[in-house]
Subunit: 342 residues, 4 copies
Amino acid sequence: MAENNKVRVAIVGATAYTSREAIRWLLVHPGVDIVALCSRRDPQPRIDEVFPELAGRLELRCEPIDAAALKGRVDVVMMCLPNGLTMDLAPRLLDAGMRVIDFSADYRLKEPAEYQQWYGKEHTDLGNLARAVYGLPEAYREKIRTAALIANPGCYPTSAALGIIPLLRAGLIEAKDIIVDAASGISGAGRDPKPEHHFPERHETFEAYKIGEHRHMVEIERTLDPYVRASKSSVIFTPHLIPMERGILSTIYLHPRQPVSTEHVMQVFAETYQNEPFVRLRKSPPRTGDVARTNFCDLTARVVKSRIIVLSAIDNMVKGAAGQAIQNMNIMFGRKETEGLV
Amino acid sequence: MAENNKVRVAIVGATAYTSREAIRWLLVHPGVDIVALCSRRDPQPRIDEVFPELAGRLELRCEPIDAAALKGRVDVVMMCLPNGLTMDLAPRLLDAGMRVIDFSADYRLKEPAEYQQWYGKEHTDLGNLARAVYGLPEAYREKIRTAALIANPGCYPTSAALGIIPLLRAGLIEAKDIIVDAASGISGAGRDPKPEHHFPERHETFEAYKIGEHRHMVEIERTLDPYVRASKSSVIFTPHLIPMERGILSTIYLHPRQPVSTEHVMQVFAETYQNEPFVRLRKSPPRTGDVARTNFCDLTARVVKSRIIVLSAIDNMVKGAAGQAIQNMNIMFGRKETEGLV
Amino acid sequence: MAENNKVRVAIVGATAYTSREAIRWLLVHPGVDIVALCSRRDPQPRIDEVFPELAGRLELRCEPIDAAALKGRVDVVMMCLPNGLTMDLAPRLLDAGMRVIDFSADYRLKEPAEYQQWYGKEHTDLGNLARAVYGLPEAYREKIRTAALIANPGCYPTSAALGIIPLLRAGLIEAKDIIVDAASGISGAGRDPKPEHHFPERHETFEAYKIGEHRHMVEIERTLDPYVRASKSSVIFTPHLIPMERGILSTIYLHPRQPVSTEHVMQVFAETYQNEPFVRLRKSPPRTGDVARTNFCDLTARVVKSRIIVLSAIDNMVKGAAGQAIQNMNIMFGRKETEGLV
Amino acid sequence: MAENNKVRVAIVGATAYTSREAIRWLLVHPGVDIVALCSRRDPQPRIDEVFPELAGRLELRCEPIDAAALKGRVDVVMMCLPNGLTMDLAPRLLDAGMRVIDFSADYRLKEPAEYQQWYGKEHTDLGNLARAVYGLPEAYREKIRTAALIANPGCYPTSAALGIIPLLRAGLIEAKDIIVDAASGISGAGRDPKPEHHFPERHETFEAYKIGEHRHMVEIERTLDPYVRASKSSVIFTPHLIPMERGILSTIYLHPRQPVSTEHVMQVFAETYQNEPFVRLRKSPPRTGDVARTNFCDLTARVVKSRIIVLSAIDNMVKGAAGQAIQNMNIMFGRKETEGLV
């Protein structure tokens, strides 16, 4: 920790959208100093050249990703790299005494074979994979406090898990018949200018993608499994793309084990989340616009015929990425959990 | 029919979005004359004052809705009024020898009690209700040919029915376990400037609405029922609003009665729709942008775990309203079904 | 001032977009307590019912606008009412010892006849009109410190004035040949759901409005006049509407009195704004997206043929309204000018 | 001409947005057959693979660009290639007896040195450059009838020229003091997915670009020059990007040679355009949304203080590209000028 008692943060993969979002929040966090930004670029850019909005606010030049160079300057490293890269870097950062919050999927799936199946790459850091804590504070707050390595959850899984876990834990629903129909703004696709995200292609259109094949499907299942008795969950996951920048809405269809009322479901949510600072129960259907640029997850439920329908809205860039990372950081460093986030 | 062999069309409720869409298409339809536009406004506007895009193309002044005044001038009336008004007007138009295509819900639900339940109003034209034909050409083409009164289908029901009927008819799926998760552009809400559709409120947000309470839920069920053996269908319907002008995507979760493959499902669709001019089977997920301003319905299916997922995209203003009405008109007047539509 | 040394703020007209924006910023301002929200509604709403995004963050119920009831509880009142209402209320608030920052145009034009001409209403508070300070810190910082009543500038005038004043003061340009071609996001039109701002009408279109008739034209002129020697300025102002939520870009065409280079113009800006915390000079053309949700004004200039072209971007809701009001408040209460704003 | 009296059209550069737009219009043009699509790709795609919206409507496979292979099959070739390529291909197509409509800038600037200056490439087809006719029907209709080679105008120049030429010809305005402040939807940037047009970068932002450096500035000047007596025009041109797909609005500031009224200016426009099928005079400011997907140019004017302000709206893809090309084609082949366009 710095002498001023501030958490010294480095961001690796500093030119990603998730990094930009983290920088925006960290700049106004009273208990943080951004001490380094690292990228794989050569030559290294000044961050305000990459994100002109940062001019006059943060004018650090990026530096190479070098654990030795960060050692002693940095308390925690936020890793905003593409999947498959952090597992090469995290061991060195951890060995050098830094804590790590990984935005990628590298440490989310505990089963190495499953990682290989879904990410097409052998996992090379099995020791840390076993030790990593899944950074969903509403589920793992105590473990997060002392974790050296946090697997920051995916955006869709965060949205889905917060809407399903309480009902699963209460034994209200079948674990084998879960449908998560979700839709996301385009920032979730990252900064790489793919043809399908060219403005004229993406504006004024709506579509599903990776139907039943998205990697977050298995992440949702593994996040739910601890709450299933003597079995595993089965989730059908259909993501869609919305012509807007940010926001995720999950519309979740659950199969009640016995007839249940909307009031009962809401009561279970209310009890689960009564002390949670970032989960808000709503009477009317949540709007992504109401959680945009906040770390909140807005939830409601309805019983319709034979199903419980849960609606869960987050900002994919905040509760779905950088905000949750900062929430985790606050917990890890004994700070107020909401500091810098409300 | 006019001497020039053109169909003489009047549009009632001419200042609605659906009317504007009908006008756009009818103006380039080689077999049609728009002979009258009727509205409830006083004073009556010229249509290009209401829709400035029509300047120089159609400069008719609207006239009151008066069956006597239309008699003899008009072959078919397209009714673009809000729900609950057409049933007062249609009898007079029909008695005066005109055929009627109703864009509202007044003649869609055959059961008067159900109409009253969902639309909050007693049905006052039971005779015509019994005679009206549901204007989904892919299901009722033969009846449409000779119908005097067409209940033009709702936008969501069109999209859903085209994706479900073939599988229901083939006996592939359970009729009691159907989930239709759909999303629509904002034009579906009509021209009335409600607070929730004010640009800054609607832009950059996504939400569900009328969860399990939307009137199209029962319309979907009644449209499916004829294909269910000895029972009725049960549909859970969740509509969402997309920050774009037009387009509907339905993501439909169906419960196969026996294990089935994606290929088999696609084969059933292929056989059903092989001669349909406006249904296109796609390999990749349909995009609303690809059917925008067309009368096509784009369909695909995937089997994922225990469900068949059908994706069905239409333009809510075209195949979901004005385009389908013109398709019906073409059928009713013995014209080529695709005339003016491709 | 409160015992905790925080500025106690009331917002009047609390259900406006500008109020919402002020609330968002004030909630994270470390030196402020929001102590009252006032509205003209009956019954008075809780603010999170009006703006669901505030749930869990600010759950004050609005109260009537009553100077007596605010007296002693409030240090400064932010008035977010439509034009023509503040001049009735401000005298009472000032008399009760509160300072006032008015977001409306009521105290911006010093000449009562001009107010009447442009706002169609006789000015009824001439004493305070004479004393009010135009709250553009870059021009009137010293007067703002001690002002009891601030006329918070209009959004377009802020954007225009910051791009023109330095060149006028330096004697570089003709005061009689100024063209301000500007474009704004739709939030500038307020929360009232007018037909022309209905989502399907506003999406995917661009247009000019109130060409040469917008009230901000005269406000720009009066803001420039103090920098003109022995004469008055003449401004042609053409605003446009952009299908987006927030942001203003002014493209300003200025007539140099003598041939001048881009470098010289930029040098004048650099000298003028070297110590200004919220004006940023850019090499590349400013983007509204880069100032969105910030209090910055991004500026650049180009000499093209016979004109200096200045480009000036702000967020109409921030530097053009609530952010500038908070900047003024910080100055008025001796706080760091950037507090709560970066 | 084909035996069925239809114009046989080939499109070269078939995978461009302008080609897609041409295809959309030509498919519903009653007097046209699309007989070939040519591209530089290898392998050659089927056009509905490139543009899935065309499935079931046009399923031609693209072929290489080969004048010999097109000879005898094609009456007119629409060239949708990037700048600098058509001048290599047009001579062969013309020699083979086809007429050519070039969407690129290759034949727009009559002065080879100017082409080289602005397009960075020596012009290699000077003979055809001299013979090419600038395809603005409102200015050059008679020459278009018999032209073998049409230089189809740029989008911004079309919008600007239609708003300026009548006033220049009437001697009302100074040719040396013309400011064209214009804004365009993003389709104008083409299909190439550049980082700055990635959806999240382009959505919800507005900016100027190529200020005083855009190639269309000189094209506007050269288009105006024939209407200037004994001199050349001087135009300052500032384009902007609007977060929408299509549409251009030019806001044009003109310097009247003598005091003039709005009515007089409108009268000059009315006389000039009274028989023009695609120019519409408006009282209220034109909206790009009202000309979207039409070949119209909507115009209005206002005199404000010392300037005439002309507002001119077109669809950059239609009157600014494919629609104007078809208008030219109709004229060239003796068809009704509006055929297939209204």
